[in-house]
């Protein structure tokens, strides 16, 4: 059993309610923080080594230290609860089952930043969670943890929850800010960064739900204690959202540093492959990060154990590694079609592109079309190279990382599974049914590729 920080109390009956949460030590970090110097809180978070849990992994304390405290403009903390990365559903779980943990984290973090007006931006589809948070915030106001002069400290904080309207792009922090201002979610050109000009041009910090929910533990214990959990620069615990072909999908909290093998195959976590079918691929950090083929999942290219850390999951770069990303852990067995799955992702990115930058607006659509052609047996050998060329022209050429996120899965699929694309091109009659590899896994038919030439 690894240490639990976020899930320590999540299974206590009634923990959703303020009374039970408070009886179990809830809001203690606020009591402690209000007696501290705000900058010391930021220091603790820096010491902890906590890295942003939304996907980018940027150190949280460092991000806080960039907030402009000199201009005297009002400051804001905005929690990014727009969880939309395919494969990721951990924030929803936290907010649904222990909403006060996030609210406690918001108060402690807002105090550190000197913010007096903060928001939780939640995706509109999580409407029942939005309502859960609204009620929990009302309870927190009633108990005196929000509002004017919190617990006699002289500190004022208003906190509200805000719902989006269904747009993946609003998980990008500047798009989220635009959306919170009541506009289309078009990412802003940076600089200026939100820490200087964010919500309503005021200094703003945007942090993921899981990051903020970790702050209470760090304040109650210490940054140093937190930094001792985990491995190397991957400190602490991390939530993984597990989906796909495993026996036990769900959300798990683990101490970083466990092997991928243990996480996937132990009964305590994923429980191994469903129906004991062979493993084919793994996306360890949400749809945007490269898919790993079977031989690179449990071992890195150097033959070392692949670990559940930022460093190990990205070991080998994109050539032989991937990324921890948001912790959206998607497992595919031999019945999955990589071409179909890549088309599925390209359709997603095409749908979600905001349309500001041509490479992304046009490129995502082209990739979707070409992938659909290949998946339906109408592709050519040149289409595979064309796909490669398009993804390479999107990457790095857009205002925000959605373009990169759309390009990477396509690149990785071609890099590691090119033979499946070729099979689709050469044997159109074998892939007519969308369940082609369910009926006849690729492993069983790939020998056909050796017998023919184009």
């Amino acid at each position: 059993m690894g240490q639990k920080i976020l899930f320590e109390k999540i299974h206590i009956p009634g923990i959703k309610t303020y009374d039970v949460y408070r009886e179990n030590g809830g809001y203690a970090s606020v009591e402690k923080a209000l007696k501290m110097n705000p900058d010391d809180i930021t220091e603790e978070v820096k010491t902890s080594g906590l890295r942003g849990r939304g996907g980018a992994g940027f150190p949280v304390g460092l991000k806080w230290s960039f907030i402009d405290k000199k201009s005297g403009n009002p400051r804001h903390l905005v929690c990014n609860a727009d969880e939309s990365e395919p494969g990721t559903f951990k924030d929803r779980y936290l907010m649904e089952y222990i909403p006060h943990l996030l609210i406690e984290g918001m108060i402690t973090s807002s105090f550190a930043l000197g913010a007096n007006l903060s928001y939780i931006y939640i995706r509109g589809e999580y409407m029942w969670v939005f309502k859960t948070l609204e009620r929990a915030i009302k309870e927190a106001y009633a108990a005196g943890w929000l509002g004017k002069n919190i617990k006699g400290s002289g500190y004022d904080l208003d906190l509200h929850v805000h719902c989006g309207g269904g747009a993946y792009i609003c998980g990008e922090e500047t798009a989220l800010i635009e959306s919170l201002e009541g506009k289309r979610g078009n990412p802003r050109i940076k600089p200026p960064f939100p820490a200087v000009k964010g919500l309503w041009q005021n200094p703003t910090v945007v942090n993921n739900v899981e990051s903020i929910a970790t702050v209470p533990w760090i304040i109650l214990n210490s940054g140093e204690d937190y930094s001792k959990i985990g491995l190397g620069r991957s400190t602490g615990t991390k939530l993984f959202s597990v989906s796909g072909h495993v026996k036990k999908p769900g959300v798990y909290e683990i101490e970083m540093g466990m092997t991928v093998d243990e996480f996937m195959n132990s009964d305590e976590y994923c429980g191994g492959m469903i129906d004991d079918r062979p493993l084919k691929g793994l996306i360890p950090g949400g749809s945007s990060v490269p898919i790993l083929p079977k031989h690179l999942i449990f071992k890195t290219a150097n033959g070392e154990d692949r670990l559940m850390t930022y460093e190990s999951l990205s070991d080998g770069g994109f050539a032989t590694g991937s990324s921890l990303g948001s912790g959206g852990f998607i497992v595919y067995n031999d019945t999955a079609c990589i071409v179909r799955n890549t088309w599925n992702f390209s359709r997603f990115y095409h749908h979600e592109s905001c349309g500001q930058c041509s490479p992304c607006r046009e490129g995502t659509g082209w990739m979707e079309k070409i992938l659909w052609r290949i998946e339906n047996g109408q592709g050519t050998e040149e289409d595979i190279d064309l796909l490669w060329s398009i993804q390479a022209k999107i990457e790095g050429n857009t205002i925000c990382p959605l373009g990169d996120a759309a390009a990477w899965p396509v690149a990785a699929a071609i890099r590691h599974f090119r033979d499946e694309f070729e099979y689709h091109v050469r044997f159109p009659e074998k892939i007519k049914n969308r369940d082609h590899f369910v009926n006849e896994p690729f492993e069983k038919v790939k020998h056909l590729l050796q017998n023919t030439t184009v």
């Binding site: 309207g165 998607i330 179909r340």
Partner: protein, 177 residues
Amino acid sequence: METLKKYHQDINITPELMQRIQELVSHYPEGKQKSALLPVLHELQDAHDNWLSVELQNKAAEILNITPIEVYEVVTFYTMFNQKPVGKYMLEFCVTSCCAINKAEDVMDYTCEKLGVKPGQVTADGLFSVVGVQCLGACGYAPMLQLGDFYHEHLTKEKVDQLINDCKEDKITLHDK
């Protein structure tokens, strides 16, 4: 701009709805009432058969004291706002990867066939519509659909049958008010 003649929406802003809207607006500083636009549109849509006519969008602009174009550009950007009538029960199936490999397309096809509609269409009685949508964040509980404010997960054909029956018998709560 106006709504196509073949669609009609009766606009009714009840005192309760107005009070709720004022509460949402109060969450933002003086002069920043535009920020309340998305939450307010959700409330207006929920109270008006789950769609937003041009006239209702104009009403939102009037309430928030912003120009109509500021509302239109938002309504057209976000997936959740419907610009024409949808079924009273709109079954939104997630069709992204993790759901797709768990037979989401089969369950959705089954539902369409059962209701006699194609994705995007509304049944003749106005009760149901079916749409495929992008990842809803329920990947570990696939396949799934969204209906109103709630998710229905680990779907099977039998569960869809049951859900459709419950809708017909008016046993389903759409919104958590």
